[in-house]
Symmetry: C2
Subunit: 429 residues, 2 copies
């Protein structure tokens, strides 16, 4: 029966994995509070046009698109930013800026499944809306780094670039926005020669092609060297130079602020999403060759959605990929080893008493299960020791007649008959 498998690209998270996902979610929410980002929850299903508007060609092809029963062309969100921009442009249009918004949930892309790449995946998403200042970009970078440190992922690097550098050159070379986007799609695929061909096709001058070629060769983590070399290539492109200066200011703030960020500059780095206008970055760890997060500045998207001239910058962290990074780095979500009681009635007459005791214990906030399989005492006990049961309560007629039960401490291996009303204190202590 094929339908008993999860659909290709989808997966189940069993308790141990679900626990890690919820641990990351908890940390994501902690970071949101620490940075003043308020949570919003937008729907998984949105109008296709909204999601497709600026998602980029590659991502557009991989969207889950269908008609609903009312004939609407809808899609499952492949990312959060379009939905958040919609929300800000409509329901929050009159909210004072800045607006800081956090979201977490599942997203859908029809990618070829591979390690860390699922067709249903989870992201924690942060958007800082209303400011075009470098301190806003620096905040998002700081938040990203704090998030990574908070979940325990180590050795992270931020690959960074400023899309304004490339757009500044292409704009001045008269390349249309479509042409610019097509070129960036090639860059996103690491297809540098493909990008050069597109530049040529769109009439970039000989000098411009030289500049692009030089630019695309620049990468490295030596910030001074990289910015100096990029600067040299940009002498004829003032807008691109301005973009480089903006990148510089942001990095300065992050560095001077003492944020523990390790940057890798790559002048040919572009992202598949088309809405970026400023810095873009992706987060990498040595143990994975796919990014565990990414973000950037998008100053026009909210305007495209009718929200006026509202600049914004944001980041999304891939929860599944962080789970994988944690696993590879040997980082585990802490197990909360808590008290857990199992109540075993020794015979059918005591089922009701066992049930009653479970109700009572939970009122004292003590996790409690009743043995519901009606197994014999020894089988129930061996099942308890297999699992993380800390206390077993054995309910037998003799003890019950004296208002007592047998309490067995599974860790210490000792047992004693005690009064029912003393159970909470005894177990809780």
């Amino acid at each position: 029966m094929d339908f008993l498998q999860t659909v290709r690209g989808m997966r189940d998270l069993l308790p141990d994995e679900a626990r890690v996902l919820r641990f990351i979610e908890k940390k994501a929410r902690h970071i949101a509070e620490l940075y003043g980002y308020e949570e919003v929850i937008t729907p998984v299903i949105e109008h296709y046009e909204l999601l497709a508007a600026k998602i980029g060609e590659e991502n557009r092809k991989r969207m889950y698109v269908f008609e609903d029963l009312g004939g609407r062309k809808v899609a499952l969100r492949p990312e959060f930013t379009a939905s958040i921009a919609r929300l800000v442009a409509t329901k929050m249009a009159s909210s004072p800026k800045p607006i800081r918004l956090f979201s977490i949930g599942s997203l859908y892309r029809y990618d070829e499944p591979q390690l860390g790449r699922y067709r249903e995946f989870w992201q924690a998403n942060y958007e800082l809306i209303g400011s075009n200042k470098p301190e806003a970009d620096a905040e998002v970078i700081s938040l990203t780094v704090d998030f990574l440190n908070c979940v325990g992922v180590r050795n992270h690097t931020l690959k960074i670039n400023h899309i304004g550098i490339l757009r500044g050159i292409l704009e001045r070379e008269g390349v249309s926005e479509d042409g610019q986007n097509a070129l960036m799609q090639r860059l996103d695929k690491k297809d540098l020669s493909g990008a050069m061909i597109i530049a040529e096709e769109h009439g970039v001058s000989k000098g411009g092609l030289e500049t692009l070629k030089d630019l695309f060769s620049i990468r490295g983590n030596d910030r001074e060297e990289v910015t100096r070399r990029i600067g040299e290539t940009l002498k004829d492109y003032p807008e691109a130079k301005e973009a480089l200066r903006n990148l510089d200011e942001i990095i300065d703030l992050v560095r001077d602020g003492g944020v523990d960020a390790k940057f890798y500059f790559e002048a040919s780095f572009a992202r598949g999403l088309e809405y970026y206008t400023g810095i873009i970055f992706e987060v990498y760890v040595p143990e994975l060759d796919i990014a565990v997060g990414g973000g950037g500045r998008y100053d026009n998207l909210i305007g495209i959605f009718g929200g006026g001239d509202v600049p914004a910058v944001g980041v999304a962290l891939g929860v599944d990929r962080l789970m994988l990074a944690m696993k590879r780095q040997g980082v585990d979500a802490p197990k909360e080893q808590r008290i857990k009681a199992l109540i075993i009635p020794v015979n059918e007459e005591n089922i009701s008493n066992a049930f009653k005791i479970s109700v009572m214990l939970r009122r004292y906030n003590i996790p409690a299960e009743v043995e519901v399989m009606r197994r014999g005492l020894s089988r129930a006990l061996s099942d308890a020791s297999r699992r993380n049961i800390t206390h077993v309560i054995i309910v037998g007629s003799k003890e019950i007649s004296e208002g007592k039960v047998v309490l067995k401490n599974m860790e210490r291996g000792i047992q004693e008959a005690i009064k029912i009303e003393d159970l909470p204190n005894k177990i809780g202590s």
Copy 2:
């Protein structure tokens, strides 16, 4: 631009609503821990055949069904139980029983939108798998009641019935399973005469029709009277009588256990889902005419999915509906009024210092925002007092030259120049 609206039936949860949803989620997880239910996360997209198998005709028509890019007929889950049954039948087939599983997330049904009924909705779902004993049913009822009390919803009633009573009669009258399901679909729509017509069409005897008619008139909260009256109608139907006895045992356990459950018995009550075999129940509050939760026993579903003879019982609580019930009852999720600092640089020279202070404060776990709009001091201050900022830190050149900033306590309205390194203590206290 139509696509800037949420798709019909979908909605955005703004921060105040998202906070309530996450509050309920937190309580749902607390209850899961208290009862020993481990969380699993299954995908939103499943094979159509899986979800459609036993969902019932009405629900089947309202599923979001589409072909993915690989030509698979898939659907968005309209409920959790099919996915959990699949999981238990496949990946957990060899896990010792009982298995207690918790899930929470969004579900999708193409219903006519109305108050409390959205096409994307949220449920907290609990399944107790492996036991056919009444103490398992009683546990799920106890859990339901604790959940409701835990989120603060009052005056809840459990409408309850045992589907085995009706199936016991229809079985003995030779009504096919399809006929039984068709009849229950009518009952689910409160269409009693439609149900009687189906019974007649499927060859139910004259005496059988009498019995059904009598049975369908029985309802009320006087348990003794209701069970006596139901019992009287069932004299010729031993299987139905056995089902009534099972219901009785479950209610006894719940009552004797001291669970705060108020029951309403309704012999014509059926649910749209086809997989039920034992007790069924729905939760109501006086302020809403739609159920805020529902559940029941399904002993065959896991077997249908190839998991062998594994009985199960479960419940799903509607998170959106609980939000509505809370609103109607004037119950609010507690706001965690926490410290929150806003750092305002008085001029551009101090942006970097302000940023640095924000990084430092967050290291001390103090929520901090930098004024990123470069507003003047008075505008930034009035924005701070509009929001829930408790402390404003004013960063000016004069104070900075002495290693100080101005700390303004927004609640007390006092301000003083203090050393930067003293900020965490001063704010945290």
